[in-house]
């Protein structure tokens, strides 16, 4: 009888522990869900902030190349990149294949000639002209 009583106590203790542990798990799950929710929210915030930084640092602009609008996402554009925007391809050859100039550019680069091998900072609605000047 004594032994049974003892066993009975043991069983009660075990079931208590199981219940307690389950409660613990349930609690931790709630904690985890809350944490995950926070992480997700923070991640979304970070992504949004990074996008904002990117947009501020490298704004998507429209360049007017040979009188036609072209999307551009980099802070600068090179001679070769302008030629590709204008004609789709660029085959480097001897001499200046194109006369390239720009206007309505950002401060310090309002207008000028873009030399082969060089780049210039861009601004929305900046105008570029890319022309083979070989006819007479």
């Amino acid at each position: 009888m004594e032994k049974n009583q003892h066993e009975g106590e043991l069983l009660r203790n075990e079931s208590d522990e199981i219940r307690e542990l389950k409660e613990q798990v349930a609690h931790n799950k709630v904690e985890k869900d809350l944490a995950e929710e926070i992480v997700q929210r923070e991640e979304a915030d970070i992504e949004q902030l990074e996008k904002k930084i990117e947009a501020l640092e490298h704004p998507q602009v429209v360049l007017i190349v040979n009188a036609e609008p072209k999307d551009w996402a980099k802070p600068k554009i090179s001679y070769k990149e302008v030629v590709i925007l204008a004609f789709g391809t660029y085959n480097e050859q001897d001499g200046a294949e194109y006369s390239v100039d720009y206007s309505k550019g950002p401060e310090g680069h309002e207008q000028g000639i873009l030399d082969k091998g060089e780049s210039v900072p861009v601004k929305n609605k900046m105008r570029f002209r890319v022309t083979p000047t070989n006819r007479s």
């Binding site: 036609e68 001897d94 100039d101 207008q111 000047t133 070989n134 007479s136």
Partner: protein
């Protein structure tokens, strides 16, 4: 030439018949040996000079009432300056070898005088001699401007069939003179080359050599100066002969070379003061630039590009200068690609006014190099953008930038 002009002009002929020393030089009417008194009352002789308006082979009406004077300021017997002549304009070089010291202004007062002052050169000259010589004639009764001296026709060394009265009217002969005697080559007589010829024709250069082996075709007529007749097109003349015939109406020293430019014919471009390159053939250009640089010959390479955007055009006109001292920029400015026939962009669009403007920009640049126009920056490359009408300059010699 001046004798014929005097003979055909009743006012100039009358001056000569009355014994005045009449000469025509560089588009100016000169009357020499005009007596006057200096400040000390001494008898001296000066020269009157004024622009000579011409209408074909005879003198027209004077364009204004003023006159230039080579000599001291004419005085009265008491040594005071003759009033009624004075004009504050400073003296200047009218043409090489003739410096005027004073500028006089005396308007005729009689009713019915034209707004420009005098209706003919006889009235103008007689009026001025009357004012200038009166004190001298009173003090020295034997003195006279009527020396009856007749000058032989001087060899004017002018390339023109008739005098350049555009320069003499504007009194810029000393500036026009900076181009005198040059030997010019124009390589390529397409739209731009032919307009270059049109502009260079009107300068004092001694020789203009034309290099091209193409026939003057119907499409050329639409991007060439002047107007070709159907008969001229039917004649299928070489461009060099067509242009030689037209421009020889106005000047001497035009030479036609029916030559296709290649390495084998570069030697024909030896000994020129200046060369205009107006050809499409890019592959030849590097060697041509090297050849001219080695010869010590300065040159300008022109080129344009007109592109179609939807149903309108845009384009860029380029003028690139090379000299023996300054030529490193050429490789980054001039296309060396061969584009015989149609290139990647389908068509070869050229329009007369774009050709003419490209030619005018090239001729302006050439004249700057020879001191005709002020050249503060000495840009060796310019490109003109038709859409915004902006000219972009670049490539300055080290001494300037």
């Amino acid at each position: 030439m001046s004798r014929r002009l005097i003979d055909h002009s009743s006012d100039l002929k009358r001056l000569q018949t009355e014994g005045y020393e009449v000469r025509i030089k560089e588009g100016f009417l000169l009357i020499s040996s005009v007596p006057y008194l200096d400040r000390a009352g001494q008898l001296r002789h000066g020269v009157l000079a004024c622009e000579l308006t011409q209408q074909g082979s005879r003198a027209g009406a004077p364009s204004n009432h003023t006159i230039w004077w080579q000599g001291e300021y004419p005085c009265r017997r008491d040594g005071s300056q003759i009033g009624g002549l004075y004009n504050p304009t400073a003296g200047k070089d009218l043409f090489k070898g003739f410096a005027a010291n004073h500028f006089f202004s005396a308007r005729p007062s009689h009713p019915g005088a034209p707004a420009t002052g005098y209706s003919n050169y006889y009235d103008k000259i007689i009026t001025y001699i009357g004012i200038i010589s009166a004190p001298a004639l009173a003090l020295y009764p034997g003195s006279t401007a009527r020396t009856e001296r007749v000058f032989p026709d001087e060899e004017e060394n002018s390339p023109f069939i008739y005098p350049d009265t555009n320069s003499s009217r504007a009194e810029i002969n000393v500036i026009s003179d900076k181009l005198r005697g040059l030997r010019i080559a124009i390589v390529g007589l397409g739209g731009t080359g032919s307009y270059i010829l049109d502009f260079v024709t009107k300068t004092l250069v001694a020789e203009i050599h034309l290099f091209d082996d193409d026939v003057f075709g119907q499409h050329n007529a639409f991007r060439a100066p002047g107007a070709a007749s159907l008969m001229e097109l039917d004649a299928k003349m070489k461009k060099v002969d067509y242009y030689h015939r037209i421009y020889s109406k106005m000047r001497t020293g035009i030479f036609a070379h029916d030559v296709r430019l290649s390495r084998d014919t570069f030697h024909t471009l030896t000994g020129f003061s200046f060369v205009f390159i107006a050809i499409d053939k890019g592959v030849l250009k590097k060697a041509l630039f090297d050849f001219l640089t080695a010869q010590g010959t300065p040159f300008i390479d022109v080129g344009m590009g007109i592109l179609r955007v939807g149903n309108a055009l845009r384009g860029t006109l380029r003028v690139t200068t090379g000299t023996p001292e300054m030529n490193q920029h050429l490789i980054k400015r001039v296309s060396m690609i061969d584009n015989d026939g149609d290139d990647d962009y389908g068509t070869n669009i050229q329009i007369a006014e774009a050709n003419a403007l490209n030619a005018a920009l090239a001729v302006l640049r050439w004249k700057k190099l020879f001191g005709f126009y002020i050249d503060p920056d000495s840009e060796y490359h310019s490109q003109f953008s038709l859409d915004e009408q902006i000219i972009f300059n670049a490539d300055y010699p080290p001494s300037v930038c």
